[in-house]
Symmetry: C2
Subunit: 354 residues, 2 copies
DNA sequence: CTGTTAGCGCTTTCAA
DNA sequence: TTGAAAGCGCTAACAG
């Protein structure tokens, strides 16, 4: 092999038997020491000899053999479209970090992004991915989506413990972890309310998706608690882009109806907030002096670069990833599911637009 | 297991022996059919019976057992900081897709981003990651960096075939795949030249990094070919941020020295171009009418959102990932290394700033 | 406290 | 063309 430098290395060679021989003990002893079993106690001396043999021989355990013999594996499968659409990439990071802590490996099978359509080629890829993961005998599967929505997972996934991250199955039979959209919407609105605003415009996403529903509910919640009557004229929904936000914001600002225009804008995502900024500036208004703006998603590249920097609600991707692994761990450990759907808080990130 | 629906499923149970029994043949026959060996020809009839048995029994091969018995694996390890710093996430996508085509799995071990410092905690994590990968008996390792630079890889990585993506080792002993920065710089400059510009300002990155060196060389190349003498006064380097770009652009624009200011700006990355836009607009100049701008990196979120949309040079992340897997494949297949360092083209993306 | 003995599910010579 | 048999490297009863 062209690429090999360390010569007498341990890649293919040193086995547990070698270690045992070198240390003058049985393979069992070695196995026990290496997996630090408590059951059988082994003299400090032998233990030391074994460890030493491991060192000098450069022994490296064979994870595959171990899995085969013990009938369990250290692997979780992660099937996701996220690698393709890196918006929620921190889910992977959170999962990976947590898995690492638990001394488990993540086998990532990336799929193309698909809207969860059951009838697409996407579905075929996903099924193939799950199949492959099952062949690897992963202990469980994590299924993560780029944006919070209902998905339809390949049926075979049900053969093993599975947890859904940032999505849920329509039948609602699989444990899932989602952001608390409603709480986030409430929090954003409360922040605006706390700043003294009473006429708060809400620029929503496509009203069909869970994010839109939840964030709007949160908006109503906060208004109700504060005792301000919601004005339907203050709520518009637009395309989830900067252009959509621009158009929607203009619409809101142009209205000089009975009560005048809003003094604050809650945009259901940062991209729309970006467009809203443009519309506001075009109207000759200053943020946050004349009008406050709050976003949602905390897309760093946008929120932290706008002028002024955007106050927004963050999606807890990393936390969801970590919680997913934890949930899967307890599932594979045979513990019953406590909560079917776990919601993770969406924290407010204060910057300078309120 | 709470989470199991398909009851008599194949998760732990059906083995090759079962299939053989069901089909009334030997395990060898099954093995041959399933791995489609040519060596021993098997009658169409038995083959059919075997495949049928596989179907009805729901047999699923055990990848681990196969690896153990055959002494080779279908897995490549990918150790990278990219998951943490998703700028170059398409490297993963490219690698993943190519691996999938080759019917191989990517075991991703993510590490925290580190500057390649050999003495950091980062290095410890990396070494642990590689160690784990070796325990899994991966066939080879891919090591990918978020930004093009020299890295120092854990020594143990040299025990197996390894290819570096978007980075290279200082000693230059490992095969590596990097973007053709110089070609990209040349291409950008040529584009500006083709538009008739002769006084082209260049806002460079920190001059120590390969991207800065290469892009500047490309700039000189293009100028030389076009027969225009480079003006040192037109070259500045700044911090690789929007602010850095803003400052650098101001500096260039404020200069009204002997030959006046540049009519075009080549920014060594898109973030700096973003800042340059601000500076240009503040000067009351229009893009591209008064001054053309070209960027580098093609950071979608920036390049496609600036007004006007930014013409820029793209980094070939996906291609590098795919090429990395291909290179690793030929390496593990025992083929000699042809090129030690492979450079991948950086294509120009025309938008509206030139 | 340590060693013996069976496998785990598959591949792969070597005979038949 | 097919089958028997011997492992791959490890774990896990069970004896000693």
């Amino acid at each position: 092999m062209a690429n090999r430098t360390t010569p007498a290395s341990a890649q293919r060679g040193v086995t547990m038997a070698d270690v045992a021989r070198h240390a003058g003990v049985s393979r069992t002893a070695v196995s026990f020491v290496l997996s630090s079993r408590e059951t059988a106690s082994i003299s400090e001396d032998t233990k030391h000899r074994i460890l030493e043999a491991v060192q000098t021989l450069g022994y490296r355990p064979n994870a595959g053999a171990r899995a085969l013999a013990s009938q369990r594996s250290d692997w979780y499968g992660l099937v996701t479209e996220i690698v393709t659409a890196p918006f929620a990439v921190n889910i992977i990071k959170g999962a990976q970090d947590q898995a690492w802590l638990d001394k488990r490996f993540l086998l990532i099978a990336s799929t193309e992004q698909g809207g969860g359509r059951p009838d697409s080629e996407h579905a075929g890829m996903e099924e193939a991915a799950v199949e492959k993961l099952l062949e690897q005998r992963v202990a469980g599967i994590l299924y993560a989506a780029t944006w919070h929505r209902a998905v339809s997972v390949p049926e075979i996934i049900r053969e093993i413990p599975t947890v859904l991250i940032n999505c849920f199955d329509a039948e609602g039979t699989l444990p899932s972890i989602v952001p608390d959209e409603r709480g986030g919407g409430r929090r954003a609105t409360e922040r605006l309310l706390a700043a003294g605003h009473r006429r708060i415009g809400f620029i929503n996403l496509d009203p069909d998706i869970p994010a839109a529903v939840g964030r709007l509910e949160g908006y109503y919640d906060a208004l109700a608690t504060a005792g301000v009557a919601p004005d339907p004229g203050l709520i518009v929904s637009g395309h989830a882009t900067a252009d959509g936000g621009y158009t929607a914001a203009r619409e809101l600002l142009d209205r000089s109806g009975k009560a005048g225009r809003p003094t604050a804008l809650f945009c259901a995502n940062d991209r729309m907030a970006m467009g809203a900024y443009d519309a506001i500036k075009e109207h000759g208004l200053a943020i946050p002096h004349d009008i406050a703006v709050i976003g949602f998603d905390n897309q760093e590249l946008i929120a932290a670069y706008l002028r002024p920097k955007l106050t927004t609600v963050a999606l807890p991707f990393e936390e969801m990833g970590a919680l997913g692994v934890q949930t899967l761990a307890s599932l594979t450990a045979g513990q019953p599911i406590t909560a079917h759907q776990q919601m993770v808080d969406c924290p407010l990130l204060e910057r300078f637009s309120v």
